[in-house]
Amino acid sequence: MAKAIFVDIDKCLACKGCEIACALAHSQSGILEEAISEHPKPQSRIAVEAAGELGVPLQCRHCEDAPCITVCPTKAIGRNTPESPVLIDNDLCIGCRFCIAVCPFGVIELSRDNKVMIKCDLCIKRIKKQSKPACVEACPTGALMLIDEHDWAAGKRRKAARELIESVLYNTKTKPEDNARA
């Protein structure tokens, strides 16, 4: 599978910069000063949800076995290739909301003009131009990342390995006989 957006929750400051950047990327003009007076107003496809003191940015996970694809009665939701993101075809979508019902993350919504369902399209137009998705680019702390899941997993393994070694070293240094000698 191609790259996907991952979140490092420890780094999210809940600034909601990703929300504005997403809405802007999906606006007509793409310019903040003009988008502010567009009708309908631009809509964000990512939402920072509060979980106690922390914030978690959520957007479509582009699931491998996506329930929204299965449930869609008009086959509006689908993938072009097994590698590509899950997309909604506006011409086919009838706005029945079944996809909202089955989405485990609640990241599909009805558009402001009440015509179609909208969700993260992984900024497919931007990615074609070799740039990152708007939310990833806007994130000031790097909490949002566009990476391959293998790289992500590898990164996590390396971090776990480092922590393991640190804890082993710590335990060796603080052996009871060391303490006694000190």
């Binding site: 910069g17 929300e19 504005i20 802007l24 903040l32």
Partner: protein
């Protein structure tokens, strides 16, 4: 990013490339690292005023519509805006206060390093402030005037004397009726902070009203005091030739750059830097002399009065250090990038902070006190001379320089227009009325890496003068115009429309008049008042065919300046919008509704040529309203008519 996309100035481009080659970062790099900038901040809908927050209003209407206290986007953006005005008005006015203290010292103390240099102006200003001048000596008048001016900052009752002495009566009436006549300067700034405290004002128009009042206390108060006293104390400017851009630095001499805003120290540096002992000392160290130049408005202050060359404007401060030939960059207050501290550590250049208000990590601090002015100035110049030996390599000075004429003021423009013996604004008014000059525009303000450096100023100014609009300029905008050769008298033939060109060539002025530093925007207010007083162009500033612009603004001071121009009745256009767009009603008020209240309004336009045409359109509409665009009907006079003509 390619240097041409960062600056339109050749010298700047050259230094930007060098910085990139050397791996040194500058304001443009740091700007790019900040992208994309926070949308909430840009739209003005983020509130950090109390600890229930920070709160922000979703600009696209998806999230909460109010902060914890219930403040909506309108309230939040209005509060943020007027707090910017408080910052700007405070900076200008505190500068005014400092020179007022120096003035008082000069008036009271004969052994002081400062003295009254312009007695004529002292008498004129004192008379405006209601101080009797007949039969009194300079010292007495100066002592009284300094006391009255200093009390303007914090007097408990009444309104500003200057707000009644300088503007046209019709303008004063507008303020009175709207309830924004400024009281004491500090009071208006303090009241902004009070009104925007948690749980005070929430009505956006009423919040903006206090911003207007404080901005008027700046333009017609604090800034005006700074200008008037500086003229009295350091001498009124007179047209003077100057050299400008990084090429004014000289590899063979000890280079001292003054940077910041206040003239108090830099004026003394001008005096001591050519003292024979110091020059001798420099020669002993192998230099051919001591070369003084300036950046930002400190530069403008000593340029206007002494013709000291200007090394560059705001975005060239880092580039100047990068040349490697600057022994000392002496800074006072405002617009000094903290980045200078760390950048200077890579060179022999010493950045010296001199104000107790401004210390920067990586800079040396030599505190300047007015009562030891000469002593401190000599100490700093000596330090620069000693540092000459530490210079590494030949340095890299861009060749580009330009020359021009600066030093225009509301007083001396009288003489240029009318001649020495019948000094008058009449020729200016007449030429506006007969349409040779369509009107006038003030193009002022900063640099901002969001626009290509200098391009905004130049594209706008060229478009205006091409359309026969006379331009007055201050601050970093004036420096940009100077660097591009727009302040050379021969620029008229090259860039102007036929009408303006004819006037410039007849009178002998460049089409872009340098009227000083950013506090000297008060000179533009005075010029506008004088034009109204001369007659024939209406009763109020708001009737004049004029417009204002800050095409590369960035500082809070620019917001205060913009607001006092709008509140004085001037259509004012800026490139980067005020951070209010997240508040729909407030934006509409500032760009439309406010005109009904005060006669001026704001506009936002990033394309400088397009903005120039919006100004021209506005100027033409004012000409239409004055009835001076109609071709005057030819009337055949008989003797009866002639007898009825009144003698003026």
């Amino acid at each position: 990013m390619a240097p041409e996309k960062r600056s339109s100035d050749e010298a700047a481009q050259e230094m930007i490339s060098q910085m990139a080659d050397a791996g040194q970062e500058n304001a443009w790099d740091r700007f790019e690292a900040q992208l994309p900038q926070c949308g909430f901040g840009k739209l003005g809908v983020c509130c950090r005023i109390c600890a229930m927050g920070p709160c922000r209003i979703s600009p696209f209407g998806e999230g909460p519509k109010a902060g914890v206290c219930g403040a909506d986007a309108e309230t939040i953006a209005a509060r943020n805006l007027v707090r910017m005005i408080a910052g700007g008005a405070a900076a200008h006015s505190d500068h005014g206060r400092d020179v007022a203290h120096t003035f008082k010292m000069a008036a009271e103390n004969d052994t002081c390093d400062y003295m009254i240099k312009d007695e004529l102006k002292l008498r004129e200003v004192a008379a405006r402030y209601g101080i009797s001048v007949e039969g009194r000596n300079t010292k007495e008048i100066a002592a009284d005037l300094s006391d009255v001016m200093l009390s303007e900052f914090g007097k408990p009752d009444g309104t500003l004397i200057s707000a009644a002495a300088y503007p046209p009566p019709a303008r004063q009436k507008v303020w009175e009726e709207f309830g924004v006549t400024p009281r004491s300067i500090d009071r208006e700034i303090v009241e902004i902070m009070h009104r925007t405290h948690m749980g005070v004002g929430a009505d956006y128009k009423n919040i903006v009203k206090q911003g207007i009042r404080a901005s008027l206390a700046d333009g017609w108060g604090g800034s005006l005091i700074a200008t008037e006293i500086s003229d009295i104390l350091f001498g009124s400017p007179w047209p003077i030739r100057f050299g400008v851009n990084l090429g004014v630095l000289d590899a063979k001499q000890v280079n001292i750059i003054v940077h910041g805003h206040e003239p108090a120290l830099s004026d003394i540096i001008v005096a001591v830097s050519q003292e024979p002992e110091l020059v001798k000392m420099a020669e002993d160290k192998g230099a051919t002399g001591i070369n003084l130049s300036g950046i930002c408005c400190t530069a403008n202050e000593i340029l206007m009065r002494h013709g000291i060359p200007v090394a560059g404007n705001f975005l060239q401060q880092e580039l100047a250090i990068m040349t490697g030939v600057v022994e000392v960059m002496l800074v006072d207050v405002q617009c000094i990038m903290p980045a200078l501290g760390s950048l200077s550590s890579c060179f022999h250049t010493k950045v010296i902070t001199t104000s107790p208000k401004c210390k920067i990590e990586g800079a040396e601090h030599i505190e300047f006190h007015e009562d030891r002015a000469m002593e401190t100035a000599r100490e700093i110049v000596t330090l620069a001379i000693d540092n000459f030996a530490n210079r590494k390599g030949k340095g890299a000075i861009p060749k580009a320089t330009e020359r021009g004429i600066a030093g225009f003021t509301s007083e001396n423009i009288f003489h240029h227009l009318g001649g020495r013996f019948r000094a008058s604004y009449r020729p200016l008014n007449d030429n506006i009325i007969n349409g040779r000059i369509r009107g006038a525009a003030g193009v002022v303000g900063c640099n901002n890496p969001k626009q290509v450096h200098d391009y905004g100023h130049l594209a706008m100014i060229k478009e205006l003068i091409k359309n026969d609009i006379l331009v007055v300029s201050t601050g970093c905008s004036a420096i940009a115009a100077g660097k591009a050769g727009l302040m050379r008298p021969d620029a008229a033939a090259k860039y102007c429309g036929p009408g303006l060109c004819e006037v410039c060539e007849t009178v002998g002025i460049p089409p872009v008049l340098h009227v000083g530093s950013c506090v000297d925007n008060s000179r533009i207010l005075t010029i506008l008042s004088n034009v109204v007083a001369e007659g024939g162009l209406g009763e109020d500033i708001s009737e004049l065919p004029v417009a204002g612009a800050a095409p590369e603004w960035m500082s809070e001071k620019a917001v205060s300046i913009g607001m006092y121009f709008v509140a004085s009745g001037v259509f004012t256009i800026i490139a980067e919008p005020l951070p209010v767009l997240g508040a729909e009603n407030l934006t509409r008020y500032l760009t439309e509704g406010i005109e009904k209240d005060l006669g001026g309004k704001w506009a936002f336009e990033k394309d400088p040529a397009k903005a120039a045409h919006m100004m021209i359109e506005h100027i033409e509409s004012k000409r239409d309203a004055l009835g001076i665009n109609k071709a005057a009907e030819r009337k055949l006079y008989d003797m009866e008519d002639r007898r009825a003509l009144a003698v003026e």
